[in-house]
Assembly symmetry: C2
Homo-oligomer: 295 residues x 2
């Protein structure tokens, strides 16, 4: 799947999902990837704009655990995490523990463009969003019946919840620029204030034109402790293919931390890779003249 | 400086400081390192306990930008970041945007021991701290005249502030276990909610018994974007000495991001390394039968 043109790869989260949700996840990924490729990359737009649009579309889709439909804290609140990175100059923006806002990834992008800081948390993230023109939305407009049911099941069983449904995208545009973005509601039943890997540059998201790009999903506590995306990108830089580096990253995560995850990756030449140690991970890819999806 | 026994290396922040503050920083580092080595490592205690105690002592010392004496936000508030990691099993704990609590690193350690999550932000960090038995203290008990003066100067000039004075420690105990810890008030004049590298595992702090340990200080926005500590530890794992890997990390940070920093590092065999691209960085090392310090 090497290409001298553009390419875009999105994921809809690694985890264990019933068959009908898997299909919906695959379809949602394919739709977001096709639209971002058509509206941005095929018109000569930037990888950064493409990953932002793809993730915004996935945030709007209640099938995924990001934006609308995001997983709830043990208190029943929605706290959102997102990050985005430009491979051109390693600029990055991220927010964590953000109260309901429709597109957390757009606020992360505003952090990147503002340039003063990289990561804002909690009330400070809300204040930054407001300053940048993003207004909070009523929580009930983003909290879905499905998210409430998942929390009820978690509260009843107190079983470890999966991070299933986090969304992410990596892209290369026709100018060879790379970008990556990730957005999530975190894990169902998380304590308020818990921050996972998704808003952390190098853990959930990474992009460097010279070395590669990646977006991860899975048990955030584990991914954080091993800097999964930075590790995969370093593997690509050291000569592994995006596919090999992705598999090696998940092997290291399993062996050293003992948790499962999934990820998508992209080498500077546009070769794609994806891997999961979970039961499923929805994904979709679009490149100059072709597309593919799976779960 | 290789050793089969224990060793402990602390830093008191990279930046530009007047000569009298440099001396105070070096003395504070030496005092904290000596006490943590004597009270923990020389008695057969763990590297994890040693880095926690060293950082608690530095948090109490108003000379440093961590705990008491931490840098203030543009609103004049104190928001604290800290993280700690055990190299044995890669367990980690961190807090960010924490309101005034005497020892943020102790709360990060409680996060590590609790084990449910790795990183808590803002109000959620305060709630976790309360649950773990840590009570907030009056802000005025931790906000120093020096921190207020720095903020006043920053507000007057709006010049980019340095991250000078962040504190950190890396240690190896007699059983060969590694640990790392970092604590900071961030940069003077930061926006509320801004999170730097210090509470991010892989950026400001990393420890892995099999690969090495590191703690960083400097412009957090840059360190975050390059995962400095994970990168240095990967360099050690790939065969570089702790010293070479530290220098390579700072070179990459300068070349790709264009900012300055400092860091301390430790190889699994106990060999130490430290480097800075800033004008000064207070540090002190104590090992079985010897000690050194500088700035």
């Amino acid at each position: 799947m090497a290409t001298s043109g553009f390419c875009l790869l999105v994921h809809g989260g690694a985890g264990r999902r019933p068959p009908e949700e898997r299909v919906a996840g695959r379809e949602g990924c394919a739709s977001a990837a096709q639209r971002a490729a058509a509206e941005v990359l095929a018109r000569g737009g930037s990888a950064l704009d493409a990953v932002q649009l793809a993730v915004e579309l996935l945030e709007d889709d209640p099938v995924f655990n990001a934006g609308t439909g995001g997983s709830l804290t043990e208190d029943g609140t929605l706290e959102l995490d997102a990050s985005i990175m430009s491979g051109v100059d390693l600029r990055a923006g991220a927010v964590c523990s953000l109260t309901p806002h429709r597109h957390p990834i757009a606020i992360a992008r505003a952090v990147l463009e503002d340039g003063r800081h990289v990561l804002y948390a909690g009330a400070g993230a809300v204040a930054f969003a407001k300053r940048a023109g993003y207004v909070p939305v009523p929580p009930e407009s983003m909290i879905t019946p499905g998210a409430r049911e998942q929390l009820a099941r978690w509260l009843a069983a107190r079983a470890p919840a999966s991070g299933g449904g986090t969304v992410g995208a990596v892209a290369r545009d026709r100018q060879g620029r790379l970008a990556a973005a990730t957005s999530t509601g975190g894990i169902t039943g998380k304590r308020p204030g818990r921050v996972g890997d998704s808003p952390v540059i190098g853990a959930g998201t990474y992009a460097d034109d010279l070395r590669g790009a990646a977006s991860a999903t899975g048990v955030g506590e584990g991914i954080l402790r091993i800097n999964l995306c930075a590790r995969v990108v370093a593997g690509i830089a050291a000569g592994a293919s995006a596919q090999e580096a992705s598999c090696e990253g998940l092997t290291a995560l399993g062996e050293r931390i003992g948790v499962d995850a999934g990820l998508i990756a992209l080498a500077p030449d546009g070769r794609l890779g994806w891997a999961r140690s979970t039961e499923s991970m929805a994904w979709a890819a679009v490149w100059e003249g072709g597309e593919a999806d799976g779960c």
